[in-house]
Symmetry: C2
Subunit: 189 residues, 2 copies
């Protein structure tokens, strides 16, 4: 049996709760360990649509750990807060250098990855019109785009496709498990 | 402009967080008011996959209010807790008698509605094999089933279809708004 995979989910005030929670849920259903990390001062978080959600730890507490994947959801203020946070950018850069998966849903693809030139011209997707604002990245109109270790998704409505794509890369030696879970939850795939 | 619609989401320890959060998120995106109600002693809740989520109020605080719809997610222990709670059943019966929408995702259709003979033989859907345990209800293998005021969904993977179906009934005078939002989040519908 292969080693348990570990994923960090980076949340900041204003994050899109459906995008975050579907991802966390699918990962944990597949026995992938998830640390939900607040990129604010405390684990208490404000969300885009006011669902009351708290992180497991702050990013600072787990800053020196290295995960197999780092995931960011969208939400306009959430991605404003992520992109302005130098610890978030340093954490992402270290994971990019270590060849880990960088998984960005919705506006985080443009507003965090492209804004900081982290895509280095790679194909990616994000919400409409956001890509126009940044030089970096080769924007594609697709539900999910995989380019090297970067996995990006369009938005909330592709949350399941995005999560299962990440899972298929993390569990590349056990696609049956991923397919079984998608069938188990009645997700058309 | 029509009156703002109001929805109660009933949560108990062990609820399926993706099913609950996608539903709450889609409702609030459509300006439908949502009260997230804990059916436990306090608003603090345990979830199926350990995402830290807190309710807005306890059911007891809002017990006498009448909502346009009542929603329940699945999660094995969550629906065990809902079905054993006499306040939950009384709250549902009052809303059924008042002709409000009763929206049950995943195991809650079988384990709460059918178990308490609330379906009165109506067509419904729920997770595999759960329907066999109960006499009430006419089980269908469909993503979402609508029968009178009862809207039921198969499981987590149909969360978006389920939420948008409920929204279309609640906002029957404004289908354009519902369709716009589904397109906006890139949900294929």
């Amino acid at each position: 049996m292969s080693e348990t995979k570990r994923v960090a989910v980076l949340l900041a005030d204003g994050f899109e709760e459906g995008e975050a929670v579907v991802f966390i849920d699918i990962m944990r259903r597949l026995d992938i360990e998830v640390d939900v990390l607040s990129c604010m001062e405390t684990t208490a978080l404000n969300t885009y649509f006011k669902t009351k959600i708290t992180a497991d730890y702050t990013l600072i507490e787990k800053f020196d750990e290295t995960y197999d994947a780092v995931m960011m959801p969208g939400g306009p203020q959430g991605t404003d807060n992520l992109t302005a946070n130098t610890s978030v950018i340093a954490f992402l850069k270290r994971h990019i250098d270590a060849n880990k998966y960088i998984c960005a849903l919705c506006s985080s693809g443009a507003k965090v990855l492209a804004a900081h030139h982290l895509l280095q011209g790679r194909p990616y997707t994000t919400g409409d019109k956001l890509a126009d604002k940044f030089d970096d990245g080769d924007f594609r109109i697709q539900k999910v785009v995989v380019a090297d270790n970067f996995i990006t998704g369009r938005g909330l409505g592709v949350s399941f496709e995005f999560a299962f794509t990440v899972a298929k890369y993390l569990l590349s030696d056990n696609q049956e498990k991923v397919d079984w879970q998608a069938n188990h939850i009645y997700f058309d795939h």
